[in-house]
């Protein structure tokens, strides 16, 4: 069972801090995208997979509007499906009655809204186009739509204080989503950012933990470094990444993992377009993975989860012992890990230093 990721590379407005692959939206480019992605859907038939999840990421896939239906129709027509979850990332300003209609018609089951902050001053600072009232309006429309609802936040913005975090918490408590993601803003260059004092790590963590605590109070539990969900509402698609299961990505820059290989589509729209129409696999960063690569990468992804890695399941799947893979790291950093009930995990409070802890994994 595979996951399918679709990368929609356009945004109406480019946020200052963003490093995703995207360019400014226009109708013509959107139409070229639709034509090409439909063709790429046909191209990947050759992999002969059954897809369990679909995920529209971006960019701003809510700009697809009605075309979401067209793409879904083409997926259904061309690919073998056994769908358990179909997600889309949306921006609040794009949501209206008709868009909700498109989502329904496209049989989208999970909506992840990029809220980022509830405070207009900070939203401005981030260069987001939406305001807090857009967020309220969108949420009101979405809450009756019978979608699994995810809210996306970014904390750790220069000048951010507990006041703004309280606004986020109020909002979460009011609408009680099924799941929440909280990311940190990292180094932003250019513009006024250079002149602003960065938020201290201590403050960033404090803000994160305030949100975490509020979420816990309504049964939304942290299950990955940045992800929280109610029981049974964890993202099936995202868990495929963390469980190192197969997924295919289409659209510019989309990544795939299949058949002991890992690769990415070209970042450039034009190169991607050409490669799709010529049905060439212009793969970027392609790796043919050795068994040891696979086991190590599976450890890297698995340890992002708060549950960590089920040792016996891992052993069966990868014919390798995660404790052995980690032995060098465990030698002097054992205190950061927990080995209990057949699982190995990074203690929750140390997930923030994930990269330092695992720096030597690929030595």
């Amino acid at each position: 069972m595979s996951g399918l990721y679709i990368h929609y590379p356009f945004c109406n407005n480019i946020c200052y801090y963003c490093h995703f692959i995207k360019t400014k939206y226009n109708k013509d480019k959107n139409n070229r995208f639709i034509k090409t992605i439909i063709r790429e859907i046909e191209n990947i038939k050759k992999y002969d997979r059954i897809f369990e999840t679909i995920y529209f990421g971006g960019g701003t896939p809510s700009l697809l509007k009605k075309d979401i239906i067209l793409i879904m129709d083409n997926i259904k027509k061309n690919l073998n499906l056994n769908l358990k979850e179909t997600s889309i990332e949306i921006n609040p300003e794009d949501i209206d009655e008709s868009f909700i209609g498109f989502l329904r018609k496209g049989e989208i089951s999970r909506v992840s809204m990029g809220i980022q902050q509830m405070d207009d001053r900070l939203l401005n600072l981030l260069g987001r186009k939406h305001s807090s009232s857009d967020i309220y309006n969108a949420t009101e429309l979405l809450k009756n739509g019978d979608f699994i609802l995810n809210f996306d936040f970014i904390v750790g913005i220069p000048s951010e204080s507990e006041y703004e975090i309280e606004k986020i918490i109020d909002f979460i408590l009011k609408y009680q989503p099924d799941s929440v993601s909280v990311y940190f803003l990292e180094d932003v260059r250019g513009k006024y950012w250079e002149r602003m004092e960065k938020l201290k790590d201590e403050a960033k963590i404090k803000h994160f933990k305030m949100i975490e605590k509020a979420l816990e109070s309504i049964g939304i539990k942290r299950y990955e470094i940045s992800n929280f969900a109610k029981k049974g509402k964890t993202s099936i698609h995202n868990l495929k990444y963390w469980n190192y299961q197969e997924f295919l990505g289409i659209g510019p820059s989309a990544a795939s993992l299949s058949n002991k290989r890992r690769w990415k589509n070209p970042d450039s729209f034009k190169l991607w377009e050409d490669s799709v129409f010529q049905n060439r696999d212009d793969r970027k960063d392609e790796y043919i993975l050795t068994d040891s690569d696979i086991a190590k990468e599976a450890v890297m992804m698995g340890l992002r989860k708060t549950d960590g890695i089920d040792i016996s399941v891992f052993k069966k799947r990868f014919s390798a012992d995660p404790l052995n893979i980690l032995r060098k790291i465990l030698k002097d950093k054992k205190g950061f890990f927990e080995i209990k009930n057949g699982y190995i995990r990074i203690k929750k409070r140390y997930l923030f230093i994930f990269n330092s802890l695992l720096a030597e994994l690929f030595d």
């Binding site: 990721y5 490093h19 995703f20 990421g57 996306d152 970014i154 993601s181 990311y183 940190f184 803003l185 990292e186 180094d187 790590d201 201590e202 960033k204 963590i205 470094i225 940045s226 995202n238 990444y241 963390w242 997924f247 990505g249 989309a254 990544a255 795939s256 993992l257 890992r262 990415k264 960063d285 790796y287 990468e297 890297m300 992804m301 002097d332 950093k333 950061f336 923030f352 230093i353 994930f354 990269n355 330092s356 802890l357 695992l358 720096a359 030597e360 994994l361 690929f362 030595d363």
Partner: protein, 598 residues
């Protein structure tokens, strides 16, 4: 006689005053080398030298010049290194010459190395031809420069030749002056052979190549020769000139210079300044002026990655093949593991060696803060020499510590005198004299403990004077100083590589400053880091570096495993130039920071 038509000369100058450019002009004018080859900067052949603007290895080239008087002359241009670290080599090169071109940049005037080199030339009885360069520049101050040359160097101003190495103006005048003013070499071909070795280097295909000046007698291919100081004997395989192409000859006569190849395998088998004579008809005594160079600055070199220890040993060996003044021996530091204690002629020399290790051998090196050699008077009144603070014996075992002092000559525009003096006060420097070279420029003479100069002295002086001051220094001897050892502890373990020998007067302040510097230079770790400084068994100061709380955790699209791996690799990359002490990763900057002044 051909000897009358030989001129041995060198060019001495402060860095950037135009020595390289002028050499090129002379080569070009005498048809020694094509325009294209010139671009490769014949006289500056090592990459590193080019970037640093100095010539490390002396070289020479034989120019053929048809003078206005109709005669053809052989002008042996002997290039000298331009940095104090190599002043012995400079003096040996000058000993092979009868004349020197003293180049002074007309826009800068006389500077520290102009003078240092001019004095060396005068000591060697050379005829000095002052050359005022860069007269094409609007900012050139010819008269002022002439005045300085006359005042400081003592050469009459009207003897100066005005040139622009850039446009070539004045090149002819220089060549004529070499013919007219520099005396031909003396020497008697019938006497037993005495030849001066003034440079040597290792060539992987030919073995060691020597540059020699025959002072008395003559040397022929197949001669059996003996190096009078080292005592070793060889057969002469090849003799020749560089024009700059190799031009083999059968013999070299008294007064002439050239190269010699004689199946010498290691650079350490020959020492610059040694005298060559014939085994069967030896000279009665060697040429004067021979010195065996002793390293002045020491530092530990450790591989950042333990597994490259062998490679480091190999690289050091290879470097020493080409650099007889560089020494190393194994050293085992409790904190840093296996490494090498290396000895250098000076600070620049240390940097060059490190850079070559990293660039040519692709090694990442952790170096400890440089140290000087101390003489320690033990309780039984005997002396030992130590080249690292870690080797200082227990306090009860010694009576006194002596440290090397330098006489430093600083050349500076008058307006920076106050700033410099204030800075030198913090360096335990002793004021000697001050002299005016001109209305605006002065020479300050100080005596300074060498240990105060080994880290950022040069940078500091340049910074304080916006680059206008220059300085030179010479070793004047060991003097007793009130010194003691300052130890640093990381998480309660003493780190030998961070210990220092400091002046008692400032020890307490240093102990505190040092910890602040370390705190700044050691990044947050997975574990809390406790830093302590200790003098004479007592803890003086303490600082804590809190444990790391957070890495970069920005939103990154879930499927992008490549990027996730890259983040881990970046984390690791950051650790590359760090040394693990216990559980703590200490970066290179920390080791060097302890000596830097703020």
């Amino acid at each position: 006689m051909i000897r009358d038509r030989i001129r041995n000369f060198s060019i001495v100058a402060h860095i950037d005053h135009g020595k390289t450019t002028l050499s090129d002009r002379l080569l070009e004018r005498t048809g020694a080398v094509s325009q294209r080859d010139l671009e490769e900067q014949m006289l500056d052949s090592m990459d590193l030298e080019k970037e640093r603007g100095i010539t490390i290895k002396a070289h020479y080239v034989r120019l053929t010049y048809k003078a206005k008087n109709g005669q053809t002359y052989y002008l042996n241009l002997i290039d000298t290194p331009g940095h104090v670290d190599f002043s012995y080599e400079v003096s040996r090169s000058l000993a092979a010459c009868e004349g020197a071109l003293l180049i002074v940049d007309a826009t800068q005037g006389v500077e520290a190395q102009t003078l240092a080199n001019a004095y060396l030339a005068i000591e060697n009885d050379l005829t000095i031809i002052p050359v005022i360069n860069k007269i094409d520049l609007p900012s050139a101050e010819v008269e002022k420069t002439e005045e300085q040359i006359e005042n400081v160097v003592g050469v009459p101003a009207d003897e100066a030749i005005l040139v622009s190495a850039k446009t070539g103006e004045g090149t002819e005048d220089i060549l004529e002056a070499l013919v007219e003013r520099v005396p031909p070499p003396e020497g008697d071909e019938t006497k037993p052979l005495k030849a001066l070795v003034f440079d040597s280097w290792y060539n992987p295909y030919r073995g060691v190549v020597l540059l020699i000046k025959v002072i008395e007698g003559k040397i022929k291919v197949k001669d059996k020769i003996k190096l009078m100081f080292s005592g070793s004997e060889y057969n002469v395989e090849e003799l020749g000139y560089f024009t700059p192409k190799e031009e083999k000859v059968k013999e070299i006569m008294a007064g002439d210079t050239g190269y010699l190849i004689a199946e010498i395998k290691k650079i350490s088998d020959v020492t610059v300044g040694d005298t060559i004579t014939l085994v069967h008809n030896p000279a009665d005594k060697p040429l004067p002026g021979f010195k065996r160079l002793k390293p002045m600055v020491f530092a530990g070199f450790y591989p950042a990655d333990k597994t490259t220890h062998e490679e480091l040993a190999d690289a050091l060996n290879k470097l020493s093949l080409n650099d007889s003044s560089f020494e190393f021996e194994p050293e085992n530091s409790p904190a840093l593991g296996l490494g090498y204690r290396c000895g250098f002629l000076g600070l620049l020399h240390r940097e060059i060696v490190q850079e070559r290790l990293e660039r040519e051998f692709n090694l990442t090196i952790i170096t400890t803060a440089p140290s000087v050699r101390y003489r320690v008077k033990l309780v039984d009144e005997t002396y030992i020499e130590i080249d690292s603070p870690a080797k200082l014996p227990e306090k009860s075992l010694y009576l006194a510590i002596e440290e090397p002092f330098m006489k430093v000559s600083l050349f500076t525009p008058q307006k920076y005198v106050g700033t410099i003096m204030k800075f030198l006060e913090t360096k335990r420097a002793i004021y000697k004299t001050m002299e005016y070279i001109s209305a605006q420029r002065v020479i300050l003479i100080y005596e300074i403990p060498f240990s105060e100069m080994v880290v950022d002295f040069y940078d500091k002086i340049k910074l304080l004077t916006s680059g206008y001051a220059s300085f030179d220094y010479e070793f004047i001897g060991f003097k007793e100083s009130p010194l003691e050892r300052l130890e640093i502890l990381i998480n309660n373990e003493s780190v030998d590589a961070l210990s220092l020998i400091v002046s008692k007067d400032t020890a307490y302040r240093k102990a505190r400053e040092l910890l602040l510097k370390l705190r700044k230079n050691i990044p947050k770790q997975l574990f809390e880091v406790i830093l302590q400084s200790k003098i004479g068994g007592r803890i003086i100061a303490r600082e804590t570096i809190k444990a790391l709380r957070k890495n970069v955790l920005a939103k990154c699209y879930g499927g992008d495993i490549t990027r996730k791996r890259k983040l881990l690799e970046k984390q690791k990359e950051g650790k590359k130039r760090m040394k693990k002490i216990g559980r703590i990763e200490v970066p290179q900057e920390a080791f060097l920071s302890i000596l830097k002044s703020d």
